[in-house]
Each structure stands twice: as structure tokens, then as C-alpha cells.
Amino acid sequence: MFAYPDGRQALFGVDFTVERGERVALLGPNGAGKTTLVLHLNGILGSVAGGTGSGRVQIGGTGLHREHLGEIRRKVGLVFQDPDDQLFMPTVRDDVAFGPANLGLRASELDDRVHEALVQVGMQDHADLAPHHLSFGQRRRVAVATVLAMRPEVLVLDEPSSNLDPAARRELADILAGLDVTLLMITHDLPYALQLCERSLLMNGGRIVADGKTRDLLADADLMSANRLELPYAFNPLSVPGPEH
């Protein structure tokens, strides 16, 4: 359970488990509580952070308590929806270095880590640019790199494909599919969910209303319409290849 300081309650009891290496999509209409939920996963919101609410989170055997906050935040990497929220340092290099520097990395070790993360998203040639000189798709990729630089075990993405042009959307999918991490991804882009994630959670009204194979959820027309979800025109979830192939 969790309520924001202005009195709005966003979560009303949520319970689920994600296995190591699994890729899971988190679906649901606007205002379902998806973003609020993922902000709990590394203790940014909720009682650990001194907020209003109750509940329990466990990551890789470590319970989320105040004394483990640093470790949890290293293990769970969060990519925010708006890359401008994530890229707050003067240059791309400063930004990607922010997390590892906080973990205590210095000098050449730090430089290597930054370079490695930028190569993973194909942005190594833009390290010295200011964020406002990048395109939106480039900023989204750098945002992913800022988190990858911390070598997280779980990567949590909020709407990774939003506002991207088709080519940038596909490039990001290629990058995400190539990563060896547990992935939890909030998205309204249902084909994207089907392409990348075998399993999906469906949230509405601050509760989880469905949990199963992405393909089955998308093919359940009643479930979909009851939760304000719609497939793109002429898209048949039963006839396209998914991650299981």
C-alpha cells in the first residue's frame, strides 16, 4: 500500500515474483500505478524512504531495508520515462560516470566502465556532448547506458519505446534483447512487450489483475478491453514470433 504526500493512494496491495534472467512486461492503463510500483523496487518510494505505506520487497535474497539500500540500488537499475530526468550532468560522459563514481570507482577503472556502457548502447562517439545536443532517441540510449554502467542485476525500464521513431525503437529493442540481465519493462507498446518479454503482468487501479504469458494476455479480448488495452490495427498476437522462438 502506498499514498503520495498529496493524499492520492496509488497502490492497494501488489504481490509478484520475477525469476533471475526473466524478461517481464508490466502493462496497464494510465494511472494504474505502474510507475509508482517500480519506484518501490529500489526503495525510492515507500516506507524505506520515509514515505507513507507498507509492504516488503526482496531482490536476489536481500530484503529491502534501510541498511541494504545502497546494495539494492546497485542491483536494481531504473531507467526513467523522460531521459531529461535521467541525464542531469553537463555532458554524456559525466552522466554515465555518475553512478559508478558514487560506487567508488575512480580514474581508469571509471573511464573503462563509462566506455563499456556507452559501447553497449552505441553512443561512444558522443561522450563529450551536452545532453541537449542529442536527439531524443540518443538521449534514451544514453539513459540506458547510465544505468548499465552500474552493472545492475535487474534492469527496470519505464516506457522505453515511447516517443521514439521506428528505427530508434527497433535499435533499442536490439540493445535490450542483447543484455544479460533480468528485465522489467513498463510499456503501452504491446507489440514491443510481445517481442521482448515472454511474461507480462497487467495492472489496474493499483492492483495486479493478471499475470501470465504475454501472448495469452494479449489474445484475451475480454481481459484487454476490461483494462483499457488495445492492440494496434490488424495486429494478431497469435501469428507473430515472440522471444520464445
Binding site: M1, A3, P5, D6, G7, Q9, F12, G13, G50, G51, T52, G53, F88, R207
Partner: protein, 341 residues
């Protein structure tokens, strides 16, 4: 003001003195704001500074074909608290000076003192003082801060005049300067007040928890669990909230000391205050002044012999009148707002 004092406008000793005042104020504010900044992070203060910077570029008409713009000191103080607000305003001025060559580097101390310190402190303490005597709800912050904003601008103009009497390069009759500055800036202050009121109303309507000056007036939250049982909890502890129990006096006193003290300075100057009924020169500027024909014209009170005392009195009376006018405007504004909703 609304414009930044350039290099060489005041003599070097005045620039150094205001530089020291500004440095001291920033250091003190850093210390006082430390706890808030640790919890909310420097990003919030930085974003507030970017906001003030952007808003200062929005002009509003003042009259006589000229325009003014928001200074934002009183508004920032109401929104993020006085100490963070001093840091925010100083940051804005530093960026304007260093990145945009706006406002002289040697005049930075003067600009921070006038626009970062005086407007913030006068605005904030007046707001808090008024909140003491108004209904205990978050909405009261709107009229209170409106008055704070309205008064903060002419007081800053008065501070400018005071500085000019100490370190101005040329002797000009200070009475005329003070009248023109304060008269003009009451008009600018009205614009400042209107914008402050509207901005705060919008914030109170959407995120009342963000208004620092009214955090102690927040109501409890109601939580509902999965089974539909509800429970009441108090909201997150206000960060760095002022302990209650400060009296109305503090706010008014700060304002009056600034206003009266500076007028005293002004009148102590060899050229002194000439209190004659509005016949003196300074034609171009003085005609715009709203108070040029009033009993306060030329910033001395009629019938009081001692020019220094009368100057200080005039400053104080001017501020008091501004407060009363501001309260009336705020009352009107809140009446109209409640009718509209």
C-alpha cells in the same frame, strides 16, 4: 530594478561591502538550507533556479509604455523556503552574470543583496507573519504571499536608494530618487503581486504540499488498504519547517527596519531630503510616480522638522500603506477567486 546593476554604478567600497554581505548571506543560507537540501537534493533548488530564470524573461506591462518582469524573490521564498530561496536567487544572478554577461561581476554582491536577499527576506517574513493572523488553511498562503511580494519590491527599491546615498557616483537629490524609485516600484510590485498570487493559486490547487510557507497547515492523509479499510496517517514530516510561535511582529519588524533604516541612511546624506510639495525637478521620472502628488512625495513627512526622522518615518509609513493596500487587493482577489470557483 528588474534590471541588474552594472559594474561601476556604485563605488568600489560599496561594491566590496555588499559583496561581503552577499557572501555572508549565501554562507548562512547554505548552512540553514543544508538539511532541506540533503533530503530533497540539489536538483530541486537547481530546477527552481531555472524556473525563476525562465520566468524573469516574461514581461508584463507596467504603464507609460514600459514593462517590468517578475523578480521572484518573494515567490521563491514562499515555495521553497527563505534559505533555499536565497541560494536560488543567488544562483540565478550568478548564471546571468557569468553565462549571459548580464549584471556586472563586481556588482554581483549588490545585485544579490538587493534582489536575492532583501526581496526574499521581506517577502518571506511578511508572508509568515500574515499567515499567523489568517485562517489556518493552505489557501491563506496566497493572499499572504501576495502582500509579501507587493511590499518586497518597493523595499528593494528603497534599499537601492540607500546604497546610492552611500556609494552613488553622483550627487543627486535623494528625495527625488527615493520617490521615483519607490513610486515606480510600487507599480512593478503590483505586477509582482499579481503573478505571485496566480502562480501560488495554481500550485495550491494542484500540489498544495509543495508550498513551503504553508507546510505546517497541511491536513492528514487517509489510506485505504486492499480490503477497503481506511486509516489516517500524518503526511511526511515537513522538511525544515519553521517552529510555530513567531509573532506577526517579526515580519513587520524586518520590513520596517529595512525601510526605516535605509531611509535614515538616505536622509543622513549631505544632500538630505527636501520635503517640498512636489514642485522639484526630476520631471521625466517623477511624473510616472504614483505618489508624486501625495503627502509622502519627496519622501519626507510634512510638518516634521527633522529631515532624518521625517525621512525614516516616510519610509515606514510608505511600507505600512503598501501593506494595507496589499491586504485590500489580496482580500478582493480571494473574494473574486471564491466567487469564480
Amino acid at each position: 530594478m528588474g534590471v541588474h546593476v552594472p559594474d561601476g554604478f556604485f563605488n568600489a567600497p560599496t561594491s566590496v561591502a555588499t559583496g561581503l554581505i552577499a557572501a555572508g548571506a549565501v554562507g548562512f543560507s547554505l548552512q540553514r538550507a543544508n538539511r532541506e537540501l540533503r533530503e530533497t537534493g540539489p536538483a530541486l533548488a537547481g530546477l527552481t533556479a531555472a524556473f525563476v530564470f525562465a520566468v524573469q524573461m516574461v514581461n508584463f506591462p507596467v504603464g507609460a509604455g514600459t514593462s517590468g518582469h517578475l523578480l521572484g524573490g518573494a515567490l521563491a521564498a514562499a515555495l521553497v523556503g527563505p534559505w533555499t530561496a536565497v541560494l536560488v536567487m543567488s544562483t540565478v544572478l550568478l548564471v546571468q552574470g557569468l553565462l549571459f554577461a548580464d549584471g556586472g561581476l563586481t556588482a554581483l554582491g549588490t545585485n544579490i543583496t538587493l534582489m536575492g536577499l532583501v526581496t526574499v527576506l521581506v517577502g518571506y517574513f511578511l508572508t509568515r507573519a500574515l499567515l499567523k493572523v489568517m485562517p489556518r488553511r493552505v489557501g491563506s498562503v496566497v493572499p499572504a504571499a501576495t502582500v509579501g511580494a507587493l511590499v518586497s519590491v518597493p523595499v528593494a527599491a528603497l534599499a537601492f536608494t540607500g546604497l546610492y546615498s552611500i556609494g552613488g557616483a553622483v550627487d543627486i537629490p535623494l528625495a527625488k530618487l527615493a520617490t521615483a524609485m519607490v513610486g515606480w516600484h510600487i507599480l512593478v510590485g503590483i505586477g509582482e503581486a499579481v503573478i505571485t498570487a496566480t502562480v501560488l493559486s495554481a500550485v495550491v490547487a494542484t500540489r498544495p504540499d509543495l508550498v513551503y510557507a504553508a507546510r505546517h497547515l497541511q491536513q492528514d492523509l487517509v489510506l485505504v488498504d486492499a480490503d477497503g479499510n481506511s486509516s489516517t496517517v500524518s503526511p511526511d514530516r515537513p522538511i525544515g519547517a519553521q517552529p510555530a510561535g513567531r509573532s506577526l511582529g517579526v515580519g513587520i519588524a524586518v520590513t520596517l527596519v529595512v525601510a526605516g533604516g535605509l531611509s535614515l541612511f538616505a536622509s543622513a546624506h549631505p544632500d538630505g531630503l527636501e520635503f517640498v510639495g512636489g514642485k522639484l525637478g526630476f520631471d521625466g521620472a517623477a511624473k510616472d510616480s504614483a505618489v508624486a502628488g501625495s503627502p509622502l512625495a519627496d519622501y519626507g513627512v510634512h510638518g516634521i522638522g527633522n529631515t532624518q526622522v521625517s525621512g525614516a518615518l516616510a519610509g515606514i509609513i510608505g511600507v505600512l500603506v503598501t501593506i494595507v493596500v496589499g491586504l485590500a487587493i489580496a482580500k478582493l482577489a480571494s473574494l473574486r477567486a471564491s466567487k469564480a470557483s
